[in-house]
Symmetry: C2
Subunit: 628 residues, 2 copies
Amino acid sequence: MHQIPDNSEIFYRPSPEGKKLKNSPSGGWGAFNCMTEQYISLRNLRFMLYEVLGAEKLTQYPLYQEHSPENFEMILESALELGDRMMRPYNLEMDRNEPQLVEGKIRVHPKVRDFMRTAGEGGWVAAPFPYEAGGMQLPVTINSACGFIFNAANYSMSVFPFLATGSAGLIHSFASQEYQDRYLPKMFSGEWQGTMALTEPDAGSSLSDITTSAEPTEYGYYKIKGQKIYISCGDHDACENVVHLMLAKIKGAPLGVKGISLFIVPQKRLKNDGSLESNDVQTAGLFHKCGYKGAPIAHLSMGNNDDCRGWLVGEPHKGLAYMFQMMNEARIGVGMNATGIASAAYYASLKYARERPQGRKIENKDVTQAQVPIIQHADVKRMLLFQRAVVEGSLSLLLQCAYYTDLERVTEGEAKEKYALLLDFLTPIAKSYPSEMGVHSTSAAVQILGGAGYCKDFPVEQFFRESRIHPIHEGTTGIHGLDLLGRKITMKNGKAFQLFLAEVNEVIDKSLNINELADFALELQWAVAKLQKVAQHLFGIAQQGETEKFMADATLFLEMTGIIAIAWQWLKQGLAIQPKIAEDSFYQGKMMTLRYFFQYELPKIEGLAKRLLSNDFTTVEMQSEWFE
Amino acid sequence: MHQIPDNSEIFYRPSPEGKKLKNSPSGGWGAFNCMTEQYISLRNLRFMLYEVLGAEKLTQYPLYQEHSPENFEMILESALELGDRMMRPYNLEMDRNEPQLVEGKIRVHPKVRDFMRTAGEGGWVAAPFPYEAGGMQLPVTINSACGFIFNAANYSMSVFPFLATGSAGLIHSFASQEYQDRYLPKMFSGEWQGTMALTEPDAGSSLSDITTSAEPTEYGYYKIKGQKIYISCGDHDACENVVHLMLAKIKGAPLGVKGISLFIVPQKRLKNDGSLESNDVQTAGLFHKCGYKGAPIAHLSMGNNDDCRGWLVGEPHKGLAYMFQMMNEARIGVGMNATGIASAAYYASLKYARERPQGRKIENKDVTQAQVPIIQHADVKRMLLFQRAVVEGSLSLLLQCAYYTDLERVTEGEAKEKYALLLDFLTPIAKSYPSEMGVHSTSAAVQILGGAGYCKDFPVEQFFRESRIHPIHEGTTGIHGLDLLGRKITMKNGKAFQLFLAEVNEVIDKSLNINELADFALELQWAVAKLQKVAQHLFGIAQQGETEKFMADATLFLEMTGIIAIAWQWLKQGLAIQPKIAEDSFYQGKMMTLRYFFQYELPKIEGLAKRLLSNDFTTVEMQSEWFE
């Protein structure tokens, strides 16, 4: 934030005296603007839902028969209204006024409480749950689209209900009816927060090493002891209670992941009279972060007074498998978080590029002529196209995953298995591509604004800081590389990989018949062939028993597969664009973004393939002591 | 920063009660560690200065004959001592306690005052100036190496004396003896700050559009009126006065860059009795930034009371040419800033990777065995090698540029022209590669630390935030792309480009004769051929008069040339490494980093070349109204 003399308590600086700095890097982006500027494109969301995916067809299945396209529209518009009214206006404020730990309790921005109640009353927390559980039975596809709106409006704020929904999902799927009755209504109403409590000081990526313990008692509950860190929304004053879905090991359990169980560990437990009492879950600390500051990340300590009770969810030792239901959804959710932030940054930089005059067209050196808006410079258009290609490509893949989830729910047998495998295969990609590219995309927004982009007068530096969390949480990019190359590619004898290739090839085949898409289809065909060549090369190494060498560049393999997956999604969009290209400029813009992706992004696989086909193993051979 | 209950006023959190969190993401990185950890490698700096460049040979020239290798060593060690003692300990503090604007004056961290005096007394501000001007006549190469140390120790703090040196350089080179006598002693002593005042609210990248005006008076000075923004160290309370080297237009001057003059505009002017009085330069605002928070960036307003005086430097209308002397140095300086920050981030993440146990080697699923330090994982080694390759490759190129500057100074005729042209050619690359890659490199440091890297308990998130300024200031990367492709490549009929290629080819030729380097030499030879092919392709477009299309991907051309320039520097290091490879593990580590660069970084030109050789002009054809 640009500070004017004599410290006024404002968030947005008025133009300094002496000069009205309209459209200039140090002024003009007042509070009003910041709060109401575009952060998503509803037009594009509709294009993807109806013109690309055909989400309205979901209403033909019994599960979703109560819904209708009109209903979907109403829900999307309500989401946008909620974003505009209750989320977006506090996005910067929540960044500037971080949560604080005061006398053992984390205080968050007061608007979070209002928002959680409104989200609860509006049915947003329970939206994807069945009617009988109190939900809207909303298709995952539509729910994801709404999530995208919330993420873009105010990422930190969107995390609170998202976590409540996710942890309620675990209770609904795996806990007894008694526990469901006890917790779900309060979580759905936004009165109680839900969390995922996995990470410990000594166990982050390596979950098998958690040490939080659970000791059985004769009263049906377990006594919990241990510490958890980085627990998003792990404690705060916007809700009356926090329900932790916590991984712990029952005393005497097998070592490693096979000994992990899932518990409900509420911050406050219900007494028989319905009142709440402390459950010996203490807030040991609050982490302060680079960005994503509006949401509190807690360090929790359980059982300091030997009085922390946990209730087992499902069967003992199956906790990790249960948790993975939520984690897979959460991973796709993280991809959406990243995409939402990148969308907000894209629109902020687009607006600036249209309004900021600087320089003249490159052939024009006549300084008597007025400066042109920077959007007229090819390099600025390149950075805008880059952002749009990342945002709309990622969104397309994420909605595709959501749609597969819906199809898995409504189908049976072989079809069901197919969609489940496609989802398994795409999860590490749908988490990692948007997350990694979100950092670059928000960085491009900063670059378009130049000095203004680096300053707090403008929102883009916040988006840049926020985006950096996504390659880290819900499994680092490195972990997802291992997941893709070490498990997903080979699972069921490579069936998931084959199904993915079949989906890509289907789009290629259709595109080959359309003049305007045929060249792109050929490029993608060739890219897929290169990916298969790389995979075969790596399997050759694996077959020699060289596991470490096989897996050494798993992150790069993930990157390469990710680019190809996004190219597939752009080509798929192309099939929906082409019949309407003459209709309005929306389709022209989409088509240019498709071209951008194939011209500037897809070629990045060249260098990756060259590296991945190498028989050099520098990173394996490097020794710790050679670093200095 | 991780906040413990009951808000203590500490910067570093002690381990929370209940558990000693050694080597864990939420603990163990105490104040002591943070302040004294390694941030540069003196061993590597010596390797580059003496084993690669042969900087000791500079003492054979009359200009530097008073110096000796022993003297250089002493100076480097003094720089490191200054960094350790007066800079590094305040690096985090200065980030957490930003400058504040209070009653029209910017307050900075109190240690800046001590540091500026010490830097002045130690001769650091005047180091590169001739003896007769009060300097040390220090070779630019050694001065740059010291700058690297300061940048890595505390980037924000290092900017204060760096700007004083740069602006004093302009006065020394172009101002009258009277002005030199008036300003230089106080600037050299660290009592007065110097700045570069170029950017205005409506003129950043487009300097030709500045509007700050200078009206001649009969008293020898000009009356200055206008506004400047983003002026680093433009006002603060660590110095008694601030001397702005300011661009302005004399009334009636030609339009555009040919009408720009350079003025000395002090914040306070000297009265005849030697005291200081206000010069009507008001601090209109203070910018708050994403990072680089320790240095104040001011908005200045001149002549609000019609009493701001400026003194012309040199001749009228030649201001931009004068300023470019400083800007070229400053651009290489920015490359060094970025490299210094990336170096500090590299060593922070290296230390963490060695100490943090997490997971087991990939072939080992036995959870009864202890976890291994993460440096044993190939993907972590990859991220460390990436950082090291960027840091030491950038440093190598930057010291090469400094060395060319020295050679230009000590030679005459054709040799002098050669070094000047090489420097001209390399400046946009030496500014942009380290700046762009510095963001990725510090981001890799964050990734290695995972959740800890995103939190303020550890210093890497600060380095990440700080690094983002470098692709913006001193000319954005886009501007440097235009400079390289639009001017440097073609200047003097392509002579600068040819000289660059000759330097690269010389290293290739030598390396082809050495078994261990021959393959890398061939790779580089092939890369250079590809670069020439790309250049020819682009010139073909230029010859058709398609200037906009020719320049549209200048940024990517800069990126490609940058990667090749760094590969050249790594191969050059290889020539110094090979004879000593068996001597100690330092050389093994260097050689592995060279291998990493050729295996993982050089292949990135494949995708760039494919794009640059395309005849598609998406970014030119894209229209503003097609974005939505």
